[in-house]
């Protein structure tokens, strides 16, 4: 019984990391109609910068967020400016951002090589730490990821529901022309939203950096799972993304124990297919649950 419980706890918290990765993607896809594959490169780039800052300065790896979050915000704004300037539609955004993804991964390879990079144990106080309740361990890196996912999703939900920026953004998502007629500046709102989404990618990157070694190919490994989280959670629904991340982590871990780790991906992607067939708007609906 303890094995199921421990695996379940680990799974839920690993799901938190998937959720942090999914938040920004869900935000831009749901509200700006931009399917941003470059999001994965931004996460990876942030993880590398975290590695670099920590190994160069010996500072706490979480402090690297002070550098990467504003930097990635600026990158997100720049990408959105290009998308807006050239009036890139939803499908074309996929192609454009795929190109950006490839370029970014190559840049990362050129800077850090294809070699594995990992923050040394002495400089990473989080890597192997855990809190215990009885025999059940709560690993610190995943716990931070889950906390970050919840905090970001709740904060964004609040902003979308209770601020002018949020209302304007939702109005743009429903009908850009009508929103424009009411004075909503879609360029400014779009760039700000993309910047926030990329800042979320930066947070995910810092968490990846303290959680595991990084290498250029790593970004490709996330794509399938993170898209599953976004789709199951409901595109644009950030609380849904957190719930979907936790659900996937939980399913993955329980199948792994009850059946076989080899069967876990099968079940998760079967879940995705069923959701697409029977709940095409995701398990929790689109756009903030509405």
């Amino acid at each position: 019984m303890n094995t199921y419980l421990q695996a379940g706890v680990s799974g839920v918290m690993t799901g938190g990391l998937y959720a942090v990765m999914a938040l920004g993607l869900s935000l831009t896809w749901g509200l700006l109609k931009v399917i941003n594959l470059a999001h994965f490169a931004l996460i990876l780039g942030s993880a590398y910068v975290t590695y670099q800052v920590t190994t160069s300065t010996g500072a706490d790896p979480l402090l690297s967020g002070v550098i990467v979050v504003p930097c990635m915000f600026a990158v997100g704004v720049a990408i959105q400016w290009v998308i807006d300037r050239f009036q890139v539609d939803e499908f074309s955004s996929l192609l454009l951002s795929f190109g950006l993804f490839i370029i970014a991964i190559q840049l990362i390879s050129n800077i850090w090589s294809a070699d594995f990079r990992q923050i040394e144990a002495a400089e990473n106080p989080y890597a192997t730490r855990a809190f215990f309740i009885g025999d059940i361990a709560f690993p610190v890196p995943q716990l931070i990821a889950l906390g970050a996912a919840l905090a970001l999703a709740v904060a964004t939900y609040y902003v979308l529901r209770h601020t002018y920026f949020g209302r304007a953004l939702r109005a743009l998502a429903y009908d850009r022309e009508i929103a424009g007629a009411y004075g909503v500046d879609h360029r400014r709102i779009g760039m700000l939203t993309a910047g926030l989404a990329s800042a979320m990618a930066a947070v995910a990157g810092v968490l990846v950096g303290i959680n595991q070694p990084v290498f250029p190919e790593l970004a490709s490994e996330w794509v399938g799972l993170v898209f599953t989280v976004v789709i199951l959670g409901g595109i644009g629904n950030l609380l849904g993304a957190v719930a979907a991340g936790i659900l996937i982590g939980l399913v993955y871990s329980q199948v792994s124990v009850a059946w076989d780790p080899l069967g876990a991906p099968l079940v998760v992607f079967l879940l995705l297919i069923l959701a697409l067939l029977f709940r095409p708007n995701g398990l929790f609906g689109r756009l903030g649950g509405s």
Partner: protein, 419 residues
Amino acid sequence: MEPRFLIQNARRIVAVAIVLVALAAAGTGASAPAQSGEPIVVGSTLSLTGAFGATGVIHKAAGETFISWINANGGLLGRPVEWKLLNDESDPAKVSALYERLISQDEVDLIMGPYATPNIVAAQAVAQRHGYVLPNHTAVLTYALTYDCQFPTWSAGGKPNLAVPQTVFKMLKTEQQTPRRVAFVTNTGGSTNFISYGPPSSSEGGAVEWARKQGLNVVLDLKYPPTTSDWGSIAAQVRAAQPDFVWNSGLALDPVNLIRAMEQLDYRPKQFFTLFPAPGPLLALGQASDGVLSVTLFEPNGKLLKKLGRKAQNIVRLFAQSAASNGLSYRVFDSQATASWTAWEVLAAGVRGARSLDNERVCDYLKANGVDTTFVGKLRFNPAKNNFSKPRNLVKQIQKGRWKVVWPPALRVTKLQAG
């Protein structure tokens, strides 16, 4: 200088100049025999990006070291050697196409194998079709390499699925560390699955079967897919089984992720063995990876390296420089670099022995004579055994932040650290 002085001493100046030129020529000749003619072109691919990229770069650094070294030492058949290297992006389909291009369009003189078993198997088909010799450094699926002119240098024997567990468990028994409870955790990728379970459609078995036959108590036998991201649930199952010895047939970062997840659950078995790890990241785990065991062809530990002499010491030093310029953070000439260097030595020895670039003659020479190598001794190639030499499985262990050879007794630099 006055013109008068030059005129008066013209004879002396000319004499001194002649002596200096002669000395310079002699000096050059002594350090590197003259090379002339068109360069010999060796073509190959490596996975410089993609899933195998991180290890592919090690082979690039080793290959570049060899090319510099051989050209500084007279080249091959008196000609300089050039390496035409292409990136196969870790894709066996691209490997086939690129080797076809190297041979048919670029008309390279010789080829060198790519990195990682699936790619080597893909290159083997092209090499065989064109009758090219294919030295290769990292083939593990011994049963799949049937071309009689492919020459593997990862000398794990014809049956590494039996030889590796035999070596490891014999060492543990001899050192009075025989485990009571063994857990197997296996990546289902081709090479690692083969070591744990043996060849497909065969009753031969692998490490798991071998352990059972030895009467060891196998308390867990768990397989995971190569793209596993949830290590917590695997670690939870290992902890629940309470093994005192964990055998991880894993690749690259697998042991790093598994050890980290087990540490988070506050579980550390007495002994942990892993097959094909990325050596650097394991060391970066610090105390958590102390005592981890693995197999190797060679480690440049002080005594071992000293025994091999100056040439080996120079190669290890040059490799470290090449690794640095290739952006590698772990620059030690370990198993991967050794296998790579040895494959290049096999190719060079074949050409020198055959005194020709004719691939058929090179192949015949290698089969008939084998090769004396710098780091792994004499390699003999027997097509009946798919040219895999007798096993050379050294066991290494992380001790105080460094990999050290602990087995066999004749080659170890320190004793096995008890769990």
